[in-house]
């Protein structure tokens, strides 16, 4: 298998196929042969303890980092939403959208910006500088930028970090709508409740290794002992596997 993270056509109907992805930082293995697939419209939650390799995996899928080995196959565009809003705070909402639409090579910039202003509900704030927006609205612009090129796969790194419960709720409504429209959404999160509630499937990483790939019910079932909540089941699962 080629040691590359360049997008390739996935086999079958998968929106994205990842094979044997490996990455090393200064002798430390951040990813150890991670493989998975995701179907169109699927919501895949990537969870794991700190340093598990979640952000490394997503940045390689986004094309920001190069993998040392393995391959990533994607049929269409990949949208990328980093954990911290990657926005120019001195530019307005519209100027940010317009700039990134141009940088992403979107054909009809005006239409894409218009669609995103509509989709994020920020049309009334289009002329406001991003610095003046709340954290929740900044995150909406951040996500909107990731969606400008109408990507087949949207990557969200810790999307709800720093948002209050109401803003989180609105964010997930928005993401669910996207998935309902056929966009594959892969997101990392520390909020296990969000993983359980919104994820169609869970990918558990620990020490750069994929240790679980299945639904939340499958994870509950994989843990021995009495019935417990998802968070307790997750911790027990990792402990049983020595993490």
């Amino acid at each position: 298998m080629a040691a590359t993270s360049e997008p390739q056509e996935p086999a079958g109907t998968a929106a994205i196929a990842v094979r044997d992805l490996r990455k090393e930082f200064d002798g430390r293995q951040a990813l150890r042969g991670v493989s998975f697939e995701a179907a169109p419209g699927e919501l895949l939650a990537v969870i794991g303890p700190n340093g598990a390799g979640k952000t490394t995996l997503l940045t390689i899928l986004a094309g920001i980092r190069r993998a040392d080995g393995g391959s990533v196959s994607v049929p269409g565009n990949v949208g990328w939403v980093p954990q911290q809003a990657a926005l120019y705070r001195r530019l307005t909402v519209e100027e940010n959208l317009r700039l990134f639409a141009r940088l992403e090579g979107v054909d009809d910039v005006d239409a894409a910006v218009d669609r995103m202003l509509e989709q994020t509900g920020l049309r009334e704030r289009a002329s406001d500088q991003v610095a003046s927006l709340s954290g929740g609205n900044q995150q909406r612009v951040n996500i909107a930028i990731g969606l400008l090129s109408s990507p087949a796969v949207l990557l969200l790194d810790e999307p709800s970090t720093g948002l209050d419960p109401r803003q989180r709720e609105r964010l997930w409504e928005f993401v669910l709508e996207l998935a309902g429209g056929g966009t594959t959404v892969i997101y990392s999160t520390h909020h296990l409740a969000e993983a359980e509630r919104y994820g169609d499937r869970l990918l558990v990483l620990a020490d750069g290794e994929r240790v679980f790939d299945g639904t939340s019910d499958d994870l509950h079932a994989a843990v021995s002992g009495p019935e417990r909540d998802f968070e307790a089941a997750f911790v027990a699962f990792l402990r049983e596997r020595g993490h």
Binding site: T59, G63, W80, Y88, R102, L103, G105
Partner: protein, 453 residues
């Protein structure tokens, strides 16, 4: 790339403080340097108190030739320093104490008498009084140097006049002529030459066996010898009047006027600070705003982003430096006929500093750190680049040469100086050095960006 450039310019436009600095800094620097170069003729201010009676004339020897015009003497003095006329010693002291002048020169009432006595049999040394305020060592040195130069010059003028007067007397003694002495009136001086001729006539008229002939011939020989030897004394007197003649030989002439050099230094420093800080900060800001990954994963790429930052630096440096030169134009002479060369030098210098700034920004990765690094490196490099030859030992100078050749300041300064003045350093050579530095710092910046994510 153009959209990124547009974005950076939009962000700049929305940072009123930075825009104000970009406009005010070159204009203020230009005006200050312009005034410094044009308004001040570089002369030190010296208070001048002349206590010599107004009707007294300075005469060395007799006649018109020995008369020294006091007005011309003052003019000579005040062409070297800016004379501030004062009416009393107290006023002179006050001006020196207040720092209005670096010194006060007081010519005492008996100065003329004493100078005139130099040409008499009872010479008295003339003395002038100088009041100084040596409140710091640099000023003290300056005052000492300036006064020493003025006194040397005055002594030279006087000794020239005295020797000229002495030469007139010798001429009179050799060739004879009229000489005016007060009270006695005008005297007719025979002179050795005419005396010799008279004696020869007398000797010819005497019988050959006359006992007076041998004595007369001795007197004639003495007159001839005296005339010939006194002729030799005339150039000797000239040598005494001007003991050391200075023959200035220029061995290296790759230097422009002081004004041009000052303009080039101002422009190079402006270019350096504006461009290095802007590019380093702007590149580090991409990371601080978390936008770096988002930008470089697309069509722009890391190399494209670097190129955009260098272009931003070049655009800003062109704007700021032209603004500086425009602010200087009403105050000092800038040859705008050389505008294409000036623009080329600014573009190349701007690119050099921008590449240097990009390397700093990529290495520092944070705006504050990159700004600090830019200041900490730029200032000493600019300082080193201005160290002239001969001020440090040869070994130290060689080391400085190596260090400053690694940074764009010296090459940018040479390019600007060469573009402003044809007599300046080789412009093409400076542009080539800048091109090499742009490439080298571009590569360094690109390597540093590999660990930027």
């Amino acid at each position: 790339m153009r959209w990124l450039l547009l974005k950076d310019l939009q962000i700049l436009r929305r940072s009123p403080l930075i825009v104000a600095l970009l406009v005010v800094y070159p204009v203020a620097l230009g005006v200050l340097i312009g005034f410094a170069l044009s308004g001040d003729d570089g002369k030190e201010r010296v208070a001048f108190l002349n206590q010599v009676p107004a009707d007294e004339e300075l005469e060395l020897g007799g006649g018109e030739e020995g008369r020294l015009d006091k007005g011309i003497a003052r003019e000579e003095l005040c062409s070297r320093v800016e004379c501030v006329d004062v009416d009393s010693r107290e006023e002179a002291e006050q001006k020196v104490e207040d720092g209005d002048v670096i010194a006060a020169l007081i010519l005492p009432p008996d100065l003329i008498d004493r100078i005139e006595s130099l040409a008499s049999l009872n010479p008295e040394q003339p003395t002038v009084e100088v009041l100084v305020n040596e409140d710091d060592p640099i000023k003290a040195d300056l005052v000492d140097d300036r006064i020493s130069a003025l006194v040397t010059e005055a002594n030279l003028i006087l000794s020239q006049r005295i020797s000229e007067q002495a030469a007139t007397y010798l001429d009179l003694l050799i060739e004879g002529g009229h000489f005016s002495i007060p009270v006695l009136g005008e005297l007719d001086i025979l002179g050795l030459e005419r005396a010799g001729k008279i004696l020869e006539t007398v000797a010819d008229a005497l019988p050959e066996n006359s006992p007076a002939v041998p004595g007369l011939e001795r007197v004639i020989r003495f007159a001839d010898l005296a005339r010939e030897n006194l002729d030799f004394a005339l150039p000797l007197l000239g040598a005494v009047a001007e003991p050391i003649a200075v023959d200035k030989v220029v061995v290296k002439a790759e230097s422009s006027e002081l004004d041009t050099f000052a303009i080039a230094v101002a422009a190079a420093i402006t270019l350096m600070f504006v461009t290095v800080l802007l590019v380093a900060g702007s590149l580090a800001l991409e990371r601080e705003e978390n936008a770096f990954g988002r930008i470089t994963r697309g069509a722009v790429g890391k190399t494209g982003l670097l190129a955009e930052k260098v272009l931003l630096g070049v655009v800003a440096s062109l704007f700021v430096t032209l603004l500086l030169l425009a602010a200087l134009t009403p105050l000092v002479s800038i040859d705008w006929g050389r505008a294409p060369l000036i623009v080329a030098a600014i573009l190349a210098g701007g690119a050099g500093f921008a590449a240097f700034g990009a390397a700093l920004g990529a290495a520092a990765r944070e705006v504050r750190a990159s700004s600090l690094l830019a200041f900490m490196l730029s200032l000493p490099i600019a300082f080193l680049s201005l160290v002239p030859t001969g001020t440090v030992s040869a070994g130290v100078y060689d080391a400085i040469e190596v260090v400053r050749s690694l940074f764009p300041f010296e090459a940018a300064l040479d390019a600007l100086e060469g573009s402003l003045d044809e007599a300046g350093p080789d412009l093409l050579g400076a542009l080539a050095r800048l091109a090499a530095l742009v490439a080298a710092y571009g590569v360094l910046a690109r390597l540093a960006l590999r660990r930027f994510t």
